[in-house]
């Protein structure tokens, strides 16, 4: 386990890492969006006269004059967002209704205010309980029904039933989503805040009727996404459309308020959870049902109850996932979608039951540990949840706590400990990587992956360096470009597994190609050697048994007159999983929180938070730890602050600024303790498991459980705010 400094850190601390909004093209002009101020109805008239007459304005595009675009294709993560310029219908507040293009940003912003839109308004459907709302079942096969939960509940010694509410949250990456689109005759290039360049390319190619090879999506750096960059949002299409209309490169930067309505959010959800348990604390039944908000005419792939079915050993499990169509901006993916929400309900419930059955919360989880994957019965490819719980309890000083709620006071503060177990999901998508050795003896890795702050550049460089026996600074990583070999999205905690695996295959293929190259080379000490006889170190390939027998890459390439030697590696773990004989595992974790509550003033402070995480093999302890602390901070936000306030009469976001929508600030976050346990995963070719999302999961439950321990007050809705605690 190494702790290498992030390879792109020097670029980032100096402000020289180029994000999509940092690019400027010759002749570039600026686009600003006009958004609907009503949530439902149709546009009865749209008057662009004044805007068109404003200084510097080049075009105003609306549904009335927009060139038609083809429907976007289905993606592996569900249907694409609806394109708003198809017709005059309004289905949510903040829907894009016009694009104003002008010479400068100031001119475009100023002219955008002159676009007069008249609406024929309808009464919007905004409430989960509105009888007019259409309710749809999850159409993605994410529900589970094992055993007979209903029967087990009716005969269980101890039963539990409660409802949990989670407020909608906005991803709010700091980087304002930007598209810079330019056309070169019929070739389109976009700099875009995509976490998935291949998907964005496919969407643009389909929309504009182009071959995919004529579309290029570039995103070398992304100012965060947290799932917001996993869909082809309409502003991306509109920027490309505007560039085509005006015949010049167009830059479109969303405003912060627009970020709340244009790039998805974590849907508001309500869960009903029923559990059956024996007096000895063994789960016999789980029935978890969720209802979440959905856009009026859109799809959201994300289920709410994802982790529960394989979290614990329980013979009877049923989950139900339904979505309610509302006139709200379409929800989307937000870090640990489903897992974060489902875990809050399950782990809060287990905490409640621990008090009822009189079993320590840690012990209760241990008693229900799933030795094998609960549904398939297959052994886990790795599962150190037990170790997470035990190491965590020890390190946190869990046993020192008085188990009685409201028993610890320090001045005005009540002090409480809470914990939660975490079982994350496994996800994999096919990945390709291209690896080259150059004449200089250095290496280049190419893949259409992205680094959204997760550390892709760094772990890819480390992996290549290790496999080819090079120093990290001898490896150049090229990602963030759809022209590169296809790689999956940064999302689902699957990229690190897929990409490092593909790199491993590519490295083997590359070394094999090198050996092929010297197979008949009388001057090569490696002539006639097989891949399993050699290894690489110090920039040279040599025999495992006799390191003196070998040669430098640079020497091979020079002798053979090669500028470079290249090989691709491809990995499809999802396909391989089918008959692997094991249940591929995602990350596991245990979270332990200490909170302080000032009941008079309703103040809640997190004073300690420990995460013990089984992430398989940890390639880089620094970036891995950062993933966990980052997720933890987002979990603190989910637990204590974050709520997109939709005005219940108009569907408008009433807090669409950073002054009003509260995310944690530095002062809200204590030192966060992170420990990694477990070993390399047996199914993942590199032993790696994804860590990008698990950091969020379990934090809200650990905090809520600590609040209960501190105060005796059980809170089942997020965020936990002052008014609930005072």
């Amino acid at each position: 386990m190494t702790a290498l400094d992030r390879v792109d850190a020097p670029l980032k601390v100096s402000g020289s890492a180029p994000y999509p909004s940092d690019f400027t093209l010759p002749d570039q002009v600026h686009a600003v969006l006009v958004q609907s101020t009503v949530a439902a109805g149709r546009i009865s008239a749209i008057d662009t006269t004044a805007a068109l007459a404003a200084p510097g304005v080049l075009a105003v595009i609306t549904h009335e004059n927009a060139p038609p675009l083809a429907d976007l294709p289905m993606t592996p993560l569900g249907a694409p967002p609806r394109f708003p310029f198809k017709d005059d219908r309004i289905i949510h507040c903040g829907q894009h209704v016009a694009v104003v293009v002008a010479g400068t940003h100031e001119q475009a912003a100023s002219a955008a205010r002159l676009v007069q839109v008249s609406y024929e308004t309808a009464k919007p459907v905004l409430d989960l309980d509105d009888p007019r709302a259409e309710v749809v079942d999850n159409g993605w096969g994410m529900e589970v029904d094992v055993g007979d939960a209903e029967a087990a509940l009716s005969s269980a010694e101890i039963t539990y039933e409660e409802t949990f509410d989670i407020a909608p949250e906005a991803n709010n990456p700091l980087g304002l989503f930007t598209t810079l689109a330019s056309w070169d005759s019929d070739r389109l290039t976009v700099h875009d805040c995509s976490q998935w360049p291949i998907m964005t390319r496919q969407a643009l190619a389909t929309a504009f009727g182009l071959p995919e090879s004529d579309v290029r999506v570039l995103v070398p750096y992304l100012g965060g996404g947290f799932g917001a960059g996993l869909r082809a949002w309409s502003h991306t299409l509109l920027a490309a459309l505007a560039a085509r209309v005006v015949g010049r490169p167009v830059k479109l930067v969303l405003t912060r308020p627009q970020m709340f309505t244009s790039v998805g959010h974590r849907a508001r959800s309500r869960q009903r959870l029923r559990l059956g348990m024996t007096g000895a604390g063994r789960l016999v039944a789980i029935d978890q049902e969720s209802t979440a908000a959905l856009g009026a005419e859109e799809d959201n792939f994300s289920a709410v109850v994802l982790g529960t079915p394989h979290a614990y050993d329980c013979p009877n499990v049923a989950t139900h996932d339904r979505q309610v169509r509302l006139n709200i901006p379409n929800p989307g993916f937000m870090r640990a979608p489903g897992h974060a929400e489902g875990n809050f309900a399950l782990e809060s419930a287990l905490d409640e039951l621990s008090y009822r059955v009189g079993i320590d919360p840690v012990e209760l989880r241990l008693r229900n540990f799933a030795e094998v994957h609960p549904q398939s019965g297959l052994p886990w490819s790795s599962n150190a949840l037990r170790e997470c719980l035990q190491v965590g309890a020890e390190r946190f000083g869990w046993r020192d706590r008085s188990p009685v709620p409201r028993s610890t006071r320090d001045g005005n503060w009540l002090v409480g400990y809470g914990m939660a177990g975490v079982t994350f999901g496994w996800y994999a998508a096919p990945c390709r990587a291209r690896l080259s050795i150059l004449a200089s003896g250095t290496a280049v890795l190419k893949a259409a992956a992205t680094d959204i702050g997760t550390g892709t550049y760094t772990i890819a460089a480390q992996q290549v360096a290790e496999l080819l026996g090079l120093r990290v600074d001898q490896v150049r990583v090229e990602i963030g470009d759809s022209d590169l070999p296809p790689a999956p999205q940064s999302g689902g905690s699957g990229l690190a597994v897929a990409l490092t695996g593909a790199i491993q295959v590519a490295a083997a293929n590359l070394l094999r190609a090198l050996l092929d190259e010297v197979a008949a080379d009388a001057r090569s000490p490696l002539r006639g050697r097989r891949l399993d006889e050699v290894t690489a170190s110090d920039g040279r390939l040599h025999l495992i048994d006799d390191p003196a027998v070998g040669e430098k890459y640079a020497d091979v390439l020079a002798r053979h007159g090669l500028d470079e030697l290249t090989a691709d590696g491809e990995l499809d773990l999802a396909a391989a999983a089918a008959d692997a004989g094991v249940a591929p595992a995602g990350a596991f974790a245990a979270r332990f929180a200490e909170v302080r509550v000032d009941e008079d003033l309703g103040l809640l402070r997190v004073t300690r938070l420990l995460s013990v995480v089984d992430g398989g093999r940890i390639l880089n302890e620094k970036t891995a730890r950062s993933q966990i602390i980052g997720g933890t901070v987002m979990g603190i936000g989910m637990a204590m602050f974050e709520e997109v306030a939709f005005d219940h009469a108009t569907g408008r976001v009433a807090n669409a600024t950073f002054g009003d929508y509260l995310i944690p600030v530095n002062a809200d976050v204590p030192d966060l303790d992170v420990v990694f346990v477990g070993g390399p995963d047996a199914f993942s070719p590199t032993g790696v498991k994804g860590l990008g999302e698990v950091g969020v999961v379990g934090v809200p439950a650990a905090i809520a459980n600590a609040v209960y321990h501190a105060t005796g007050r059980r809170i089942r809705s997020l965020p936990i705010t002052i008014d609930q605690l005072m």
């Binding site: 980087g175 912060r256 702050g453 550390g455």
Partner: protein
């Protein structure tokens, strides 16, 4: 109009990182947009454009401000320092190096603002304890949640031992 009042500037003279620039600007142009769109200094980031996130933090006459809420024209005759101007003889500032060592960044978008704020914080003498660092760095949002590492980086530069919260 009174002689005592200067006419709306069209040509604005800005002193940025010690260099004097004359730029033709719309009078509505903020310092942030002037830096990014007219002076090719894109290190300073726009995260909210409403003065709420700190991503656009620069020093104005040595004091940290948010460049999205000041007009470029207001900055004439004053010294602007951006993240591009804090290197010393081509070497990174101690704060920048500490940020790298402590992984005090993830996506990196808020990082130039954090760096500028941290440099200013140290000059203000407000890095005396972890709590003080946390409080006076709270005007710089980091959605990736690098806060503990940011505190660690600043603590190191300040030569302070970690103090309990």
């Amino acid at each position: 109009m009174s002689d005592a009042l200067r006419q709306t500037p069209e040509l604005v003279t800005l002193t940025v990182n010690g260099s004097v620039h004359q730029v033709q600007l719309d009078s509505r142009t903020t310092l942030l947009d002037a830096l990014r769109d007219h002076l090719e200094l894109s290190g300073t980031k726009k995260g909210c454009d409403q003065g709420a996130c700190g991503a656009c933090t620069v020093l104005l006459d040595g004091k940290r401000i948010v460049s999205c809420l000041v007009l470029a024209a207001q900055c004439e005759g004053r010294e602007v320092t951006t993240v591009e101007g804090v290197t010393v003889d081509g070497r990174p500032h101690a704060v920048q190096e500490a940020f790298c060592r402590h992984d005090a960044l993830q996506c990196g978008y808020c990082t130039p603002g954090q760096v500028m704020s941290a440099i200013s914080l140290l000059a203000e003498g407000r890095a005396g304890s972890d709590d003080e660092i946390r409080e006076f760095m709270s005007g710089n949002l980091c959605r990736c949640g690098a806060y503990p590492n940011i505190v660690a980086a600043i603590r190191e530069v300040a030569g302070q031992e970690a103090t309990s919260r």
